[in-house]
């Protein structure tokens, strides 16, 4: 039911400056980067030119399992790459081994786990929690306090409203103890789709290109492209009007 994992915190070397910054010797900071006070930067972090890292942010931390965790976790430093002209907000926590494009904005008090790939110009709001291995396409926006499960796929120009919640394990009832195989199936959101405030997306569903999910909906089945759904459980409401399609 549980399984022992050795949790040893790797050694690393930091420099500590007079403004409260702890910067690993193996980190790489670009030109004209602004670092706020009290930031912590772990090894293998690479920050692109002209980026801003606000106060209290922690970049490149490793995942640390306790003995009861099901999913295997590797506590090793990998490259955390932040593209040029990006902004990382105050007290935000980015894990090791993710890749952010240029002009990405990650706001305050947000956390992004390891293995994520985030395209150019993406905006991620405050208090957002993204799990491991998420892919977020260029110019998509994730509003405050949304949750992205592990392995989630979000294509380009997607809009995800405040507090949207997602799930990736339909078999959690049995899989949580490791007694059955876990087959994580995260939601997939095709390009140009909009997910309304407070909606819930169940495991493995696909939101089609340009589709729209109404606020507060619970989506239990695939949503065809260019349609609007809403309610609990979410049902077809209408097609996306032609004038909307032309306007985007």
């Amino acid at each position: 039911m549980t399984r022992k994992v050795t949790t040893r915190f790797p050694n690393y070397l930091f420099t500590r400056d007079t403004n409260g910054r702890s910067i690993a010797k193996k980190a790489s900071i670009g030109e004209n980067v602004h670092l706020g006070s009290n930031v912590t930067i772990y090894p293998k972090v690479r920050i692109g030119d002209r980026s801003v890292v606000m106060d209290g942010a922690v970049l490149g931390r490793i995942p640390l399992p306790n003995m009861t965790m099901n999913r295997p976790v590797t506590s090793e430093y990998c490259d955390l790459v932040i593209g040029p002209e990006s902004i990382i907000g105050c007290n935000t926590v980015l894990y090791t081994g993710s890749r952010l494009g240029s002009n990405v904005l990650v706001s305050d008090l947000t956390s992004i786990r390891e293995g994520c790939s985030i395209g150019e110009g993406v905006i991620i709001g405050r208090g957002v929690m993204a799990l491991y291995d998420c892919r977020i396409g260029s110019f998509s926006r994730i509003q405050d306090q949304a949750h992205l499960v592990g392995n989630m796929v979000i294509e380009e120009h997607v809009f995800i409203g405040m507090g949207v919640m997602t799930a990736n394990d339909n078999d959690v009832y049995t899989s949580r103890f490791g007694s059955t195989a876990v087959c994580f199936q995260a939601p997939v959101i095709r390009s140009l789709a909009v997910i309304g405030t407070g909606a819930v997306l169940l495991p493995g569903i696909e939101i089609g290109m340009g589709a729209m999910v109404a606020a507060g909906a619970v989506v239990t089945r695939d949503v065809p492209a260019w349609t609007v759904v809403g309610g609990v459980p979410a049902r077809h409401i209408r097609e996306i009007p032609n004038e909307w399609r032309r306007a985007i």
Copy 2:
């Protein structure tokens, strides 16, 4: 579809003390103010007498746009005024240009954007995210993890439950690319109203004086004063009983 914004981080001067505090030379700290460790205080912050700022809090940060943001953002320091005897929690992030009354409690890991006006005695819980230009009337309470959209109006003695989500843009499907005009219409909550845990409030709706929204409701239309609504979408359930009105 996107638009270039010059993002330059303004220069400022800080003093750095031995307890990890970075305090801008142009900040004003009242008498008997307690500052925790590792706080960062930007220019034009004014903290009233006998207030407490807990560890890791960041006060007066400026908003920083990336190139893909629709809404114009001004990255300039304005007054952030915190009234006397107020409390700002650990690792909380307050933006520049807001105004908090006396005896305000903002708890841990919360963020309040620029231009907000928060009355006397307001309590704001942990993990709350308030966007720009919100008005919160005296003695209102915003519970943990609630989200307040930009321009939201909350009158006095309002109670907003945990995880309540709000929206302010019914036209987000088309407005998100800037190709149609954006007309933000935030919810308005009249005095003495109660919003239940996990409710979702849609753009432009008005919750009448003393009304009550049940937990988990999705409110798509105005709620008349002194009525109770609930469900998805929210429907009229009953009038507020007279004995309740007398008791508040």
Copy 3:
């Protein structure tokens, strides 16, 4: 309607090291404990051997009331005990007077209030907010951004999904002003139960042993053991299949 509370921040003595750590002289740190940068550790914190406290975490803060708070709050340092081989995430805030068992994982940007009791091997995700006096049984898991109200009881091996919200006061409409007695009745979740992503649990309801609440459900009544409920409001869907019971 409101009531004056004297808010005085107690005096304490800290040592400040070169890595930005503020550690109260009365704190007790076990052997082979890793402390990240910029952590703040208040008096009466006791950290077990081989535990890890990540960067920016604040351990042992006292609750501080403002003048408008209904519930009496004691601003005194009590023991905050963290068992051996536990992990506390980045920028997380633990209050004074709670007790965490061994091998507990509390992830980043989470806050746990005073008086909580957390069993061995519990996993608490990122952005979780637990209020005062919660009990969480051994090996239970609380996913990211969930909210646990005050006095909540969670037995062993429970799984609580992302963004689950809870409430503990059915009389909030009148009790919020202190004009009627408050009788907090938090949800009780019996062992082996599963609560789906984004569900809302109302005051005083009991989720029976091994029961399952579907994602997005609003639970307004007790849920019998070994049954599945879902919807708004939540209704009986089926019994838990025998093969599921055997698999856990």
